[in-house]
Subunit: 571 residues, 2 copies
């Protein structure tokens, strides 16, 4: 063994407990064995623990492996050993061994692998993109002008790649914030936001806004990482905050984790690169050619963030190309009210001039060198489920549910009348049977709602896709109905807008207990009419609204004795 | 500022990049500023970077915060700084800052918080226990005699606690294995199992066994941690491997993580205690009185593991007491075939003498000092869903599905006949309407199966509760049926036993793509008759089996012209 040229790495210290029967040494002794051979170590032990010359002893690990001459050479720095009379003897007093148990890097690299599947066969990719859009919405919430969010699918391999870039013109990240981005599970609630020069406040809950469209959709400190490692195996975060002229860049990748593990380097250690906007001198592999124009675009921007994902799963690329219409529609559905404002994608009502109608979410698919990229602005999607509901409805019943601790749900029910011999209730375009590409006509459901739940559920303004609420007591089909024909109960759809007091799962696919909370006795439902809350019996109100809808809008009644249309004098 | 008595902690070194316009120094210079005041530092910079005396400069963080005299004092060891001409100047070349981004301890402490809820209102606690039973089954798989697994709910507060202990007489853990237990996401597939004295093999896939009852249900390196931090906030692992006379103990707790963060200690660092079996000298708080008898029980055991969970959520305690029958039944359901053997909890067939009928899973609830504990052996549960299915069925149709890469599903369909004016198809005891405590009579469903899916799904022999398979093409209700009345299709239940080639989610609540895989063209279904595979048309076989069941067992036909019972001569 070569013992010369000793680096810091080669220093070996062990701590040894005296565990011989009758020993009362409760504390271990430290031995520096860097320059000690096996015999020397034995002698040092004998001396330190005053073992009489006629007494034998053995030394073992805490797993009772005897330290023989061969094993002695393999001992690593920091090891804890036990001096024993014999290998099988009992320990008279306890010993302690220090261990390190840092989470394995699969915590990050595999965090997205399973989380997105709430059930089988559902394609989870749109919800991975949603996490990145959430972050971009959150980052652009204080923008003065347009809030621009762009997803670019760079599948034109002549430019390097494939890669996916999610860009926003939001507040960007300081170097410190970029570091915090990388810390798994460091949520905004526990983050240290202080800088030397400013004592930034901790998390401030945003003021209530209609439909809870508050853009405050960062919650757990995991979304971005789950998303990128579900989509690919490497991410390059590029960000510039308004406070600094520099762009900060940070790469996290499976490959790099594997290398660090192999080289026994610190796993969770890396470098942030600070550079001039537009400086692409560090891009030199042909695999990353696509980065050059992206870096060039930086020049002149006050602040921005670009999330560049590479090492994409091939199956994802195939899906994204083949089902472009489908998944962009699902994103339009998810952010419907952020994109279109509180009244949604209505033809009739003017868009309300609120802060949410300056949000521009654009998807751009680059496939072949000479082909024009496929481009869609989510605002132009006209066949997502909410658009279909809004456009086929003739009347809206608004309500509110409030509970203890600021729990608030705004809700609405829409009526889809029976017209000209058919139901106008829209079919679900996501359901397998209607999953035709580029089919954006409004398909109509012969049975109305059928067994589908009434309510889709939004949280802080964005859809939580796997939670629906079937109905409430006050709007369910009654056992016997004399006033309203039962089919009318199949002609309603609804939306619930829950505020941040409701909990969602970390993958934002399900609410934790929305329905349970709403069923609590303490939850009070009130009707809202022209923005005014009315403390009235909601069931009565609803039933009479439904009756009115029926009388006024259904153009034919199928089974009941229809006596002709009449307008009531009392209205 | 007191600068004397300098500890290692107080050493401060910074690295500084020369970022003045025109500079070509790409590498930073290191400065030890431990004993340097602000002016000294300025002088050292001027000298090192040869800044002419008439030139001014400033120093900033990588976030462009100027290092003033006040801020200088706050600089921590390892900081990266930039020497600039002015605060807003561009960087001529990039700088690099080293960052650390170890996952936050919430990765562990909150890992169970949301994962168990696949949908709303479902009580996830039984599945947290299931993770601990999985581990115990895995640890006892090579036991010679009885495999004993015990869950003790120690809610008698006169003995300290409350606490929950999960014990098994399995192989236990060496100190090294106990350390590996603590590493989040370190799965058995990537674990280093070597010891100095033995080169233990890596993961070895178990040989195929019927129903995949292979006890190999550890997969992701997260289950135990998710379970304990879902149930409580502190865990004490106590384990003894056969290879050593010592017991190893390790504590992981939210409180301890919080303390380490406060004291700026290494978060993922701790101590394993090695001690004599039965030595409870370290138990000295009255809160932990319940530990003493548990430690005393250690004496004489060859190997064991005890998982002791404390700081329990009060809501869990309430649930576990109030719904004792319900959740133990769900556990009996989950491990039905481990407990009862491959034929399940049948009255007719003798239990097969396989390795799985020596599994003893016992739950014990201690509530009050003078009350006899409530005790149940899962083998004695007679009203879990599988038992109900087995006991109400009169015939079984067995099959097998095989696919590429060793994919294997064993399956069976059972027939529940119409008898004496009613269906014998059992009701789901877990469904809300039948959730009465201690009601173990067999309730019967007037509509047979109704709209319920046919198949419950097991993976490596244990139930994956939130995945069901509705049907396969060959057993679904045909559009028109001349042979078998359609009600017969509502009289079947089924089980699928998938092997380890199918993926499940990390919380083992759902399969990833069982149904999709089974629908693949490459998947081949064959009938199994008396243990023999038959390459025949499974749909035909199934239909004729169903017809036979109908003819032979249904005692009355409701709507079709029943001509009387007959026994066919050809059988
Ligand atoms: N596009 C962005 N612009 C600015 N900051 C961002 C951006 N994306 C992420 N961040 C910062 O990084 C942090 C971590 O993001 P990540 O999505 O991983 O978790 P989170 O948003 O905090 O919580 P969640 O788990 O709910 O997504 C964010 O809180 C935010 O401070
Ligand atoms: N009761 C036990 N007896 C012996 N070893 C155990 C026991 N419980 C856990 N272990 C060891 O600790 C490891 C980690 O357990 P944990 O349940 O956290 O993850 P896992 O079982 O490996 O994977 P999964 O996420 O599928 O549960 C196990 O692989 C096993 O080696
Ligand atoms: Mg996020
Ligand atoms: Mg496990």
């Amino acid at each position: 063994t070569s013992d010369d040229g000793k680096k810091k790495k080669d220093i070996r210290r062990v701590q040894v407990y005296d565990c011989r029967p009758g020993s009362s040494n409760e504390l271990p002794r430290k031995f520096n064995i860097t320059d000690e051979d096996y015999n020397g170590f034995q002698c040092a032990l004998r001396k330190e623990f005053s073992v009489p010359p006629d007494e034998t002893f053995i030394v073992s690990t805490t797993d009772r492996e005897e330290i023989t001459e061969d094993i002695y050479k393999l001992l690593l720095d920091g090891k804890t050993l036990q001096l024993l009379e014999s290998v099988h003897q009992m320990l008279p007093t306890a010993t302690q061994e220090r261990i390190e148990y840092q989470p394995h890097y699969h915590t990050l690299v595999q965090c997205g692998m399973y989380e997105y599947y709430a059930s089988e066969g559902q394609e989870a990719l749109p919800y991975a993109f949603a996490e990145l859009i959430d972050n971009a919405l959150s980052a652009t919430r204080n923008n003065i002008g347009i809030r621009r969010i762009e997803i670019r699918l760079l599948f034109d391999e002549s430019q390097g790649g494939p890669a996916i870039v999610v860009m926003d013109n939001g507040c960007g990240m300081t170097s410190k914030q970029l570091k915090n981005w990388a810390v798994y599970r460091l949520s905004k609630f526990i983050r240290d936001n202080t800088a030397f020069t400013s004592q930034e406040p901790g998390y401030v809950r945003p003021n209530p806004v209609p439909r809870s469209l508050n853009s405050d959709i960062s919650y757990f400190g995991v979304g971005g990482k789950q998303a990128v490692f579900y989509i690919g195996q490497s991410v390059r975060m590029i960000s510039k905050p308004a406070s600094s002229p520099d762009v900060h860049e940070f790469i996290m990748s499976k490959e790099e984790f594997e290398r660090k593990e192999r080289d026994r380097e610190d796993i969770y250690s890396g470098f942030i690169r600070n550079r001039m906007p537009g400086d692409s001198s560090h891009v030199n592999s042909s695999e990353e050619l696509f980065l050059v124009p992206i870096v060039n675009e930086e020049v002149g921007k006050d602040s921005f963030t670009a999330v560049v994902i590479t090492r994409l799963q091939q199956a994802h690329i195939t899906y994204l190309k083949q089902h472009f219409t489908l998944w962009t529609r699902e994103l339009a559905h998810t952010y419907h009210y952020y994109i279109h404002g509180i009244n949604g994608n209505s033809l009739r009502e003017m868009r309300v001039n609120d802060s949410s109608n300056n949000i521009d979410i654009q998807i751009c698919l680059f496939e072949k060198p000479n082909r024009i990229p496929r481009l869609i602005n989510l605002r132009d999607v006209n066949n997502d489920m909410q658009t279909l509901y809004i456009r086929s409805s003739v009347s809206t019943f608004e309500f509110k549910a409030t509970g203890p601790k600021d729990l608030l749900v705004e809700g609405l029910v829409r009526y889809h009348p029976f017209l000209y011999d058919q139901e106008t209730y829209p079919l679900d375009p996501y359901s397998a049977s209607t999953e035709k590409e580029d089919d954006d006509c409004m398909v109509v459901n012969p049975e109305g709602r059928g067994k589908r739940p009434i309510f889709e559920c939004y949280w802080n303004g964005r859809l939580i896709p796997y939670t629906t609420v079937s109905e409430f007591k006050w709007c369910e089909k009654p056992k016997k109905t004399d006033v309203v024909p039962w089919e009318c109960y199949n002609r309603i759809s609804g939306v619930l807008f829950a505020n941040d007091r409701f909990e969602v799962s970390t993958n934002k696919l399900t609410f934790m207990d929305l329905e349970l909370q709403l069923r609590e006795k303490a939850t009070i439902f009130t009707r809202v009419n022209n923005g005014q809350e009315q403390r009235v019996n909601i069931e009565k109100e609803f039933t009479s609204w439904l009756e009115e809808c029926h009388v006024q809008f259904d153009k034919q009644v199928m089974f009941l004795g229809f006596l002709g249309e009449m307008r009531r004098a009392d209205m």
